[in-house]
Subunit: 216 residues, 2 copies
């Protein structure tokens, strides 16, 4: 059995003590993956941003808020993992300055500079030794090209490409690309279905386990 | 019995199809208020931003995403209401431009201009005839002074002043100010306790009902 790190949910990047930049990631894909791997007897560590859902009780859950916190938590556990699935949607920009007090409205526009946050999966890619890395790419346009760039930058072994309509939804439609960008499969179904098929694919390709459950 | 409009939850203001500005409002205060007023037999209309909680089945719930949508929904029902409680935390800035495609990271900082969204409660204050208006003010500093400015701008009859620690929490500590900014009371307790005490206060001051339930 393997030890699998799953990142899940959104992160938040604060502008002041109240306002933040985020996205609508619900953590449902991460939960479905945690369920699929726990059910098959694997050890699961979930590093999750703020979500309203609950992860399976067998999973070890590390709760974080910002992308930097998600990175730190992942870096601390990655060496003991066999691989990582980056199902989180970390906020990839943060306000350059965080106001210590709530910004008071003045009637005038407010100009803010956003800087990029660290790329969690790419940073794990730089650390990887024996580990496999599975990424998710959410694209609104030029999906294949952007996904291929991400595969290379993050040193991914598999990339799951989906669309913004998947965010927060129960259902998703995805393409599975290998490390060369070749499309291995296209799956549509509930996140539970997709999680089970992805677990089977990971078991076959990286964990050398035979597929015993017959697909979703 | 009265018809009470309750705004609840956060709103979201999008930067592109994926990223948005928001806050951690959970809708719990709005739900506690909806419970308190429904239980007492009042008609309750909730205009709510995206939340993970559920409102009581007796409440009429109108779901919105942005502050502009929250304003429109409130304006359409306000004439038939006896009063409004602004328990929502509408996002009060929005990106001036919304990108139609997901913004691709370039490595360079991104400068965005934020403009103010309409002030939902102040706009209802401009429409008000017989209605009473109860606001919430979340302040990190100069709480009394900022609250008094809000009372005047929003034409509030009562203002509930709380702190960022109340966001998303079960428990809260509040000051109740009247339309002159005079502190009527200070309450601490669960949001359920505070909602019941606020309903009793509103019934006594605005609905001329005697207090029959004895306080929280």
């Amino acid at each position: 059995m393997a030890t699998v790190l799953i990142t899940s949910g959104p992160t938040r990047e604060f502008l002041d003590p109240v306002r933040f930049l985020s996205n609508a990631s619900s953590g449902r894909m991460g939960r479905a993956l945690a369920d699929a791997f726990c059910t098959a007897g694997h050890r699961v560590i979930v590093v999750s941003g703020p979500v309203a859902i609950e992860y399976p009780p067998q999973a070890e859950v590390i709760s974080v808020v910002t992308t930097e916190e998600m990175l730190k938590a992942c870096q601390s556990v990655f060496p003991e993992c066999d691989g990582v699935i980056g199902a989180a949607a970390p906020c990839d920009f943060r306000p350059e300055q965080v106001a210590s007090q709530k910004i008071v409205k003045s009637g005038a526009p407010l100009t803010i500079r956003l800087v990029e946050t660290p790329d969690v999966l790419a940073r794990l890619g730089m650390m990887k030794r024996h580990q496999w890395i599975v990424g998710f790419a959410l694209e609104t346009h030029n999906a294949r090209q952007h996904a291929l760039e991400k595969i290379q930058r993050k040193r991914c072994d598999l990339m799951i490409v989906n669309r913004p309509s998947a965010i927060g939804a129960e259902w998703s439609s995805v393409e599975i690309l290998d490390s060369q960008g070749t499309c291995l499969a296209e799956w549509a179904g509930t996140k539970t279905d997709i999680a089970i098929r992805l677990r089977e694919l990971i078991e076959q390709r990286f964990l050398k386990l035979s597929n015993t459950s017959g697909g979703g």
